[in-house]
Amino acid sequence: MKGAPSTAPSAAAQLNARRAPSRRAFWLIPALLLPLPLWLDPYQQYVANLVLMYVPVGIGFNVVVGNLGLLAFSNVAFFGIGAYTSGVLMLKLGLPWWATIVPAGMMGGLAGCLASVPALRGVRLFYLAIMTLAFGELMRWVYIRWEPVTGGSMGMAVPAPSLLGWSLDSESHKFYAFLALVIVVIIATDRLLRSRFGRAFLAIKSNEEAAAAMGIPTDRYIVLGFAWGGFVVGIGGAMYAALVGHLTPTSFDLTELILQFAIIMLGGLGSLTGSVLGTIIVTALPELFRDLPGFEELAFGVMIVLVILFLPRGLASLLARAHPIFRDRYYRE
């Protein structure tokens, strides 16, 4: 590792040295969002719900790729597994939507454990990317072929979601349910990332050998990271089922992967704030260009190229430069 002569503290160091204000201020955001449904029309509300739905998806992806540093493209597999688990439990077993959320997450988590196997064997980077991508494609093939359960290529219609008896038949009702879920996911992931586990993830990302030399059980934590990522994305999948009401295998293809990949690349790898930021941009933008097929891919491809060249730590780094409250610090004062 090269060392720069340290005459003056770098921008990053200076920023780190400023005392970060308490993160309690972040509670302002959901508080301000509460009256949102009063001002949005149903379509706009749907878009807002779409953004909320993608937040856990981006967060889960970022934990594996950004924090653990493993280029695993299995995210869409977790997403689809979560969605279909929720759908199947609702349709075939008659469970209400809210009861399928945790099972969907669990199945996602299980898929995460499975996807971690090549990483445990030392498979990295391009190999790992292709293998996990193959996993995602294989799952899509399962959705298509396992007709009695998943409805095949025609997909499955999912019963209307409800939360403990309260029917979520309007977009604004869904908004509150989703908001609650997202808050829980963000808090839980934040705790994880700012704990010794989160620090260990970054250690593994930086130098796996040295991490082991510090007593960090790297294998176990890799599985943990993948399981958490899968769990959280699986929950996003359940939200997706509630949001769109109809699941088809095409929703979980490679185009979907690029969308999710763009979220974390633009937002900032390894940053929770980045996952949220990236989600907002990536989800809102296509709604402006819905009628141009291919535009999304082109725009996101170009944006990612630009970000890699000029803003490698993503948009979250811009926010962090603006105010210390957005900076990721992996210890408590």
């Binding site: 590792m1 720069a4 160091a13 705790r191 620090r199 040295a210 030399a213 510090m214 210890y331």
Partner: protein, 253 residues
Amino acid sequence: MTPLLEIQDLTVRFGGLTAVDRVSFRVDAGEICALIGPNGAGKTTLFNAITGNAPMESGRVLFQGAEIQHLPAHDIAARGARRTFQNGGLFGHLTALENVLAGLHIEVKSSFLGLLFAGGAAKAEAAATKKARELLRLMELETIEDHPASELSGGQQRMVEIVRALATDPPLLLLDEPAVGLAPQMRERLGQIIRGLASERRIGVLLIEHAIELVMSISDRVIVLNYGRKVADGTPAEVRADKNVLEAYLGHA
């Protein structure tokens, strides 16, 4: 007295090459033992085999009397054998303070489930942070604690890496070329620190070094490796006079 570390007939092979050939020696608590030899003699490979970072073909490694050769690296580290790396083992994505905290990993008492449900790991984290800060302050590194590790100078990186390795008060410290790239005053300071660790804290130190003056001035014993084999094992004075050692170095000239 049980030696802190004992290596018995340790052999490491890569493909057809024997990198370490039936090496045996011991390190006692409070002893500074230097491992020297020409480039490619197998020193770092030996380190890696001891710490579990590389597989060994045969031999035994006993740490505090217990066999550890079959244990994974993180287990060995958890038992108290800590090391630094030759080519910068700091975690570039973390700050200096966070690096030391990572070194304290096994001491931070927080479980995964406890994390999610019991209000986070605030107490354990705060305690560890305090300790880490104190450790850095002792080494006069507190001004850089928030600097990203990748932005530190070479000398600072070495020091932080040593602090990190010492964070859990390990009984055994393995240092791989800690003085590389350090200015002469820094080297002296490093030597003093290592001597202090051994005499005051009774830490056993095994160090790989090319800076012969440093080695000779602080070591209690010197082990010389050449082509993977142990060629000499004795006090600095004995080794300096040993003909085999001279040959080993001259033979490589």
